[in-house]
């Protein structure tokens, strides 16, 4: 059962990091734990022979999204310092109850499903070449759409987060004369 051991070795810390990410008090710790959980998931993908997806997960989640989150935390950190109040929302108990209910429902559904003990077929590798081929043939339209979506999201994010320009701009004639701004006594 080396596989099951490997699974447990990966899954247990991943779950632990996920729990930590959702419960720690300091936001930066939460973000870093989330990054660790994402990395753990990437390992799980690798364990499931999805090499390409695993690396993509690592690249996108740890390399990009975690960094973004960290930046966002730093840019909004005044909140954390100023309020000093509880990090949990007033109705957190209700939320937790719903989450447990949800988990129970999902688990129940899973435990009752017939495909529960299905074992993996022996050979199911996704060679990178095949993924590339599929992306360029069968999935080429979704790929293009993703490209457009990402471009749009990039521009949108920049526009949303951009600080508004001050309304008063220096008149054009003044800009043309650099001396005026530099030669102040």
């Amino acid at each position: 059962m080396p596989n099951e051991i490997a699974f447990c070795l990966i899954a247990a810390p991943t779950a632990a990091f996920a729990v930590a990410a959702m419960t720690l008090r300091r936001l930066v710790h939460c973000a870093l734990c989330a990054a660790a959980a994402f990395a753990g998931l990437a390992m799980l993908y690798l364990q499931l022979d999805a090499e390409f997806v695993g690396f993509a997960q690592l690249l996108v989640y740890v390399g990009a999204i975690a960094i973004l989150i960290v930046f966002a935390i730093l840019l909004t950190s005044g909140d954390e310092v100023r309020t000093g109040s509880s990090q949990f929302s007033p109705a957190w108990l209700a939320g937790l109850a719903v989450a447990v209910l949800l988990l129970a429902a999902l688990a129940l559904a899973l435990l009752l499903s017939p495909s529960l003990h299905r074992l993996a077929p022996s050979a199911a590798a996704a060679p990178v070449k095949q993924i590339g081929q599929e992306l360029m043939t069968r999935y080429v339209l979704p790929l293009e759409m993703i490209g457009i979506l990402l471009t749009g999201a990039l521009l949108g994010a920049v526009v949303i987060a951009m600080r508004d320009e001050p309304e008063v701009k220096p008149p054009a004639s003044k800009r043309a004369d650099p001396k005026e701004t530099t030669s102040l006594p």
Partner: protein
């Protein structure tokens, strides 16, 4: 490869529950976002597991779905965090229970 499929599915459900709990119980919008990302990841794990344990080995649908899902998650995170920053700039807070201007 003899780990049964149920392990992955249960683990994914657990991860989903954790993410959900975080998303509904934390006050910071950023943590809500992280919770949602965790839920998304749990779904991705399901896809990969179903692909791996699926009857047709050559069908890459699960893998493709996850690849696209990751790309969309990147877009979502970028826009979401930009929104959070914009909200912070406007309201000086990112605590979701204070952002209730849309009260009915």
């Amino acid at each position: 490869m003899n780990t049964p499929l149920s392990h992955y599915l249960l683990f994914s459900a657990l991860l989903f529950g954790i993410g959900f709990a975080g998303a509904v119980a934390r006050r910071s919008a950023i943590l809500v976002l992280i919770g949602i990302e965790l839920m998304l990841n749990a779904a991705n794990l399901n896809f990969i597991a179903f692909w791996r344990y699926g009857p047709v080995a050559g069908a890459l649908t699960g893998v493709m779905f996850v690849l696209f899902s990751i790309a969309i998650a990147a877009a979502e995170a970028a826009v979401g965090l930009a929104l959070i920053i914009a909200i912070y700039r406007l309201r000086k807070t990112v605590q979701v229970d204070r952002l209730d201007t849309l009260k009915g």
